[in-house]
């Protein structure tokens, strides 16, 4: 069965046009002009039960708008929508009993009362039997190590602690589908990892379907078997993460450390028969960019045979670079090598990587 079935989903907003200047403001007062903005433009996708799907895109691409339609908060302008067997906005109250929602930027908990009080209130709101609730709560508290946090008021929790509590709050009623809107935003690496592990485990053990939006591609790499990429309201990629990487990485970078001082012209002379490029980092180190269409061993062979080398490092283009490339061109249709990202930029990105590693 499909957990989420979306067909030609569209959301348009009427946005008021503000004319410039005082005169414009007066005109606006009497006759307003509106422009229609299409936040989500006829998207179609299906997510089977038990899948973890990443939903990514730039700010303003329409991710949150989609999530809000899927969770019954917004009413779509047109299109068909079925989540967990319901049309979300039509049977809202029945529908939301079967889903869990976490908005990373907004708290679900009551600010002034203890965390446990919030949980008990949610139990009443969701009408969960006390036995089920206690069993579930014990499980979650143990798994996410919330023990001593339960009696503190939410306003005294750190962001990491709060986010773990938010997760528990959204899962107390044992939802079949969980929507996470930037669940790891602003968290440190320890909490991020903890949350990822937890989500993965829940997905494996209970078959919970998870749809998450994020700007942190490591979330996607750690969790998602599938990625949907959105740009300007339209889906530009829908498929596996590995596929995205292999079709989209433009090539590899190799960093050489030489035993003697090497000039760029000497290096270029070595590789003059191949379509590769060099960037010099300092007297002894330089980077070679090898696109996929160039034979890797041939490029290596030429350099290794022609220079005195002390060390070699190979960099795979990481997901961040790939996604940045796609965002910048705004399309995933152009083939891997043909994206018009300037070479220099790709190398710059690579450099950043080398600093980090």
């Amino acid at each position: 069965m499909l957990a989420i079935d979306v067909k030609d989903l569209r959301k348009q907003f009427k946005v008021q046009k503000n004319r410039a200047g005082l005169g414009g403001a007066f005109k606006d007062l009497f006759k307003r002009e509106y422009t229609e903005v299409t936040a989500v433009n006829d998207i179609t996708f299906q997510i089977p039960q038990g899948e973890i799907c990443g939903y990514i895109g730039e700010n303003g691409a329409g991710k949150s708008t989609t999530i809000k339609m899927l969770t019954g908060i917004l009413v779509p302008t047109s299109g068909e929508l079925k989540v967990n067997g319901y049309v979300p906005h039509r049977d809202r109250e029945k529908f939301v009993k079967g889903i869990g929602v976490v908005f990373g930027q907004r708290s679900q908990l009551w600010w002034d009362i203890g965390v446990i009080e919030s949980f008990h209130l949610l139990r009443k709101v969701y009408n969960v039997p006390l036995n089920d609730f206690n069993r579930r709560l014990d499980q979650l508290v143990e798994r996410l190590q919330l023990g001593e946090l339960l009696n503190r008021p939410v306003r005294k929790l750190s962001l990491g602690q709060r986010m773990r509590c938010e997760l528990v709050a959204s899962l107390l009623h044992n939802p079949a589908i969980v929507f996470l809107d930037e669940p790891t935003i602003g968290l440190d690496i320890v909490v991020k990892t903890e949350i990822r592990d937890f989500l993965l485990e829940m997905n494996r053990q209970e078959g919970t379907t998870i749809l998450l939006t994020t700007h942190d591609l490591q979330d996607i790499e750690a969790l998602c078997s599938r990625v949907i990429m959105l740009d300007d309201g339209s889906i530009i990629y829908d498929g596996g993460l590995e596929e995205l990487k292999t079709t989209w990485s433009k090539g590899r970078e190799i960093q050489f450390q030489f035993g003697e001082s090497m000039s760029v012209s000497r290096l270029e002379q070595l590789t003059h028969r191949l379509n590769v490029s060099w960037t010099r980092e300092n007297e002894y180190t330089a980077k070679l960019f090898v696109p996929h269409e160039v034979n890797f061993s041939e490029a290596m062979g030429v350099v290794v045979g022609g220079a005195n080398i002390r060390d070699i490092k190979i960099f795979e283009t990481n997901t961040d670079d790939i996604v940045r490339g796609i965002y910048q061109t705004g399309s995933a249709d152009a083939g891997g090598g043909q994206t018009e990202q300037p070479q220099a930029e790709a190398q710059q990105a690579g450099e950043k990587e080398s600093v980090l590693s």
Partner: protein
């Protein structure tokens, strides 16, 4: 039944979170009562200049004011949503409300519940009792029953109007001016409506039926006057039902237009 349960839960949490701010609680009670007290003083001053106001004596007008305080206190407790637009629409808290399985208006009302306002209702009842004795009226058991029904009707009228007003935030970006305007108009309903001109009387009775919150139901207990608006008193629950249904409809349609805030 489930909704009653929920209300108790929310009340418990209100108490828990308020225990930490006890001073706040009493300041709120005090300032509420002070405001009501000022209004009463105003009535007393008016009656220093005239023995009758549109055919109503001082005790009667104060009785009406006391009656008005009762539904007003209940209303203020349960419909404390004057900042709905800013908090739920502009800041987008409506998102959270809409992901929970209970009616959205009910959740918003419960989240903002404000029990200190109930003090006004108690004071209102005391004011009524004092005037009642002052006028030497007889008390029948049926009067108490009618009183309860009229108060509930009046609360629903108030609630309906303010629900509709809050729901305007779904339709317009910032309908800020209208709430203070309404706040002023509602005050007219506490005084004998026959002192106003025909147009205002009509508006207060049938369009923005604030007269049904004060003067009309209260007149049920008093001597009939020449225009005899007490005939309308028993219509109060009916008006309450109609006005609240209209308010709820506007709300429900508004929720469908909710557009969320920011990211």
């Amino acid at each position: 039944m489930r909704y009653m349960n929920l209300m108790l839960e929310y009340l418990k949490n209100y108490v828990k979170s308020r225990m930490t701010y006890r001073a706040d609680f009493w300041i709120e009670v005090f300032s509420d009562l002070l405001q009501q007290g000022m209004n009463l003083v105003f009535i007393l001053i008016v009656f220093q200049h005239t023995p009758l106001l549109g055919g109503w004596s001082q005790s009667e007008v104060i009785f009406v004011y006391g009656f008005f305080m009762v539904p007003y206190g209940v209303f203020s407790t349960f419909f404390n949503i004057w900042n709905f637009g800013e908090r739920y629409i502009v800041k987008g808290e409506m998102d959270r409300v809409l992901t929970r399985p209970a009616h959205s208006l009910y959740q918003v009302l419960l989240e903002n519940i404000d029990p200190p306002s109930l003090f006004g209702s108690f004071v209102g009842m005391i004011v009524m009792a004092v005037c009642w004795m002052d006028m030497g009226l007889a008390l029948h058991a049926v009067d108490v029953l009618v009183f309860v029904v009229l108060v509930i009707g009046a609360v629903f009228i108030y609630g309906g109007i303010y629900t509709a007003l809050s729901a305007l935030s779904f339709y317009s970006d910032s309908p800020t001016g209208i709430v203070p305007l309404m706040y002023n108009i509602q005050n007219y309903g506490r005084y004998p409506v026959n002192i106003y001109n025909k147009l205002i009387r009509f508006v207060l009775t049938w369009l923005l039926p604030f007269a049904f919150v004060g003067i009309i139901p209260a007149s049920y207990f008093l001597e009939p006057k020449e225009d005899d608006i007490s005939r309308l008193a028993l219509l109060t629950p009916v008006m309450g039902l109609i006005v609240f249904s209209i308010g709820l409809t506007i709300w429900n349609r508004g929720v469908k237009r909710y557009r969320g805030a920011g990211s």
